[in-house]
């Protein structure tokens, strides 16, 4: 009875169809859960950061002042964002050419390539990080090759260096770059490429004048995901980077679970949240600018 009435009311409101509730209401359960268990905790983060003491009794901005007044913390922020940008750069450098190969491959090969891209993504981050310890270690794969070829007098130090970490993150994050890229690439009309070639354009020219502009949305999507993921990759950062390389995630973990200074941990977490969001906004803004430029 009530169902019929509700349906009639909706029809009168012009939503069409016979429904016993408005369609958008189906999103309510998730909306409530999301508010209660995602937005509310994030709000608590902001509240806790505005307390002076570790017991969370005195309101004040002492922790913010301490954090933002200390060059050490600024360096940590800078290093974290730099790590994200380096990883984005490395994944674009090798990932984009792989996407080009995918674009030109036959369907059967495309399916294999896609499988190869997805497999590492579904393999636990811990497993992938562990693999890089084996690769980068003193007696690891790279040093084995280097020593065998006599390229260096002593094993190279790769673990606990920024270079080693970026190398590892390049593998760990590359699927996130490739999936949006392949998605956009597979929608590019192949006739455009053949037309460009038939008109005598060199492959480089076709790449920069046809393929690259059309793949900007996928490239930006990939950059966004890789940046977001690499800046918060706590396990990889702490295991491969070690204690010598301090990034915001390590700081958050130390302050909250080792030192138990929740206000300072909240300040660090909010700083991570805000700076990553700002960079993501900047990346997508640039992406939209370029896309508009291409269209116009």
């Amino acid at each position: 009875m009530t169902i019929a009435i509700a349906g009639g009311a909706l029809d009168a409101a012009g939503t069409g169809g016979r429904r016993w509730l408005a369609e958008w209401q189906l999103a309510l359960p998730l909306g409530l859960a999301f508010t209660g268990f995602f937005l509310a905790p994030l709000l608590i983060l902001a509240v806790v950061s505005a307390f002076d003491d570790e017991q969370i009794t005195r309101i004040g901005f002492a922790q913010w002042i301490k954090f933002l007044g200390d060059p050490f913390y600024w360096k940590v922020i800078f290093d974290t964002l730099k790590l994200g940008l380096l990883t984005v750069g490395a994944t674009v450098l090798v990932g984009y050419p792989l996407a080009l190969v995918y674009l030109g491959a036959r369907p059967a090969l495309q399916r294999i390539l896609l499988f190869i891209v997805v497999l590492p993504l579904l393999t636990s981050v811990v497993v992938r990080t562990f693999a890089w310890i084996v690769i980068l270690g003193r007696e690891g794969v790279i040093n084995g090759v280097v020593m065998a070829l006599g390229l260096a007098p002593a094993p190279l130090r790769l673990l606990q260096t920024e270079f080693g970490l970026v190398l590892a993150l390049t593998q760990i994050e590359m699927p996130l770059m490739l999936l949006p890229l392949l998605s956009v690439m597979s929608r590019i009309d192949p006739n455009l490429m053949s037309a460009s070639a038939a008109l005598g354009a060199l492959r480089w020219r076709t790449l920069f004048r046809v393929i690259l502009p059309l793949s900007v949305p996928g490239l930006m999507g990939g950059c966004l995901l890789v940046f977001a993921s690499s800046t918060t990759a706590f396990i990889s950062q702490s295991v491969i980077g070690g204690a010598r390389l301090v990034y915001l995630p390590l700081l958050i973990w130390q302050q909250s679970l080792v030192v138990y200074n929740w206000p300072l941990a909240s300040v660090a977490a909010l700083t991570l949240l805000i700076s990553v969001t700002a960079c993501i906004a900047a990346i997508s803004l640039i992406g939209r600018k370029i896309a508009r430029h291409v269209d116009g």
């Binding site: 268990f37 896609l114 007696e139 794969v141 995901l225």
Partner: protein, 273 residues
């Protein structure tokens, strides 16, 4: 293609082909190396290992030696199963609710529900720990489930929405004009068509929960140990080669599951689109 390749074209093939080879090596190499290491008899992760052995797997399956790992693995599977069930239910409902709405509010809600994918998970993990503590709740598997469910919902939401956007509205209209109720249409038309998308999304959500570190790191306690956190501990303290054996099992199971999912629902294509 009768045209001869110019020097510039050769440089293109070499540069792009070379970089793509590097990319493929970087993607596949580590997975292969983990598998080889798990059968290697070196204590110090020397590679290539001097000989082959299955002792790490034997140690891993030994109930008395690896009880804690077994418990952590059990917890992780249980949490992932429950969190995925919740994510599928709530995510599918939300996808149905938002799919055909063009309103501004619906777009904002959609963006918000997807935001756990890009927002730093660690910030949310800490936030959840403080939130639950202030509510007077102690760390438990149920809280980890809740936290995981929120961050894995985007996977279901994305694939379900993608399937819905490909659903022909004419099907729904003809079903309605033939007198079928909304619920009947949902059960007999909409759900069967979007089911593969939901399964694919659910699989990705399950893997994401199994793999989750940022939330588990803060919400796991002595009684609610999670596998990734335990493995991390094993890597940080002494380099325990059993990590390689666990990794080997995880790689093998993911590979198997992926092949099944590829058959069932065309998983990789859905991930690309």
């Amino acid at each position: 293609m009768g045209r001869r390749m110019s020097v510039a074209d050769i440089s293109y093939v070499l540069a792009i082909g070379g970089l793509a080879t590097v990319a493929l090596t970087i993607l596949v190499g580590p997975v292969v190396i983990v598998l080889l290491t798990s059968f290697g008899d070196s204590q110090s992760l020397k590679f290539p290992p001097p000989g082959l052995t299955t002792k790490w797997y034997e140690a891993l399956f030994d109930a008395s030696q690896s009880r804690q790992i077994h418990r952590a693995a059990g917890n992780t599977l249980w949490v992932a199963g429950c969190a995925t069930a919740g994510a599928i239910l709530f995510g599918t409902l939300a996808a149905l609710g938002l799919a055909r709405s063009r309103s501004r509010l619906a777009r904002i809600a959609d963006t918000a529900f997807m935001s756990p994918l890009v927002l730093p998970g660690l910030a949310f993990g800490l936030a959840a720990l403080m939130y639950f503590t202030f509510l007077g709740l102690r760390p438990s598997l149920e809280l980890i489930m809740l936290g995981h469910a929120v961050v894995i919902v985007p996977f279901v939401l994305r694939t379900a929405s993608a399937s819905l956007s490909q659903l022909d509205p004419a099907l729904l209209e003809s079903s309605a004009s033939l007198g079928a109720s909304w619920l009947y249409t949902l059960r007999r038309v909409t759900l069967p068509i979007i089911a593969p998308g939901i399964v694919a999304g659910g699989f990705l959500a399950f893997i994401a929960s199994m793999d989750n570190v940022p939330v588990s790191l803060f919400l796991a306690g002595p009684r609610s140990d999670m596998l990734p956190i335990r493995l991390w501990g094993m890597m940080e303290s002494t380099l325990d080669v059993r990590v390689a054996a666990v990794s080997g099992i995880m790689v093998a199971s993911v590979l198997g599951l992926m092949l099944i999912m590829e058959r069932l629902v065309g998983l990789t294509r859905r991930m690309r689109d």
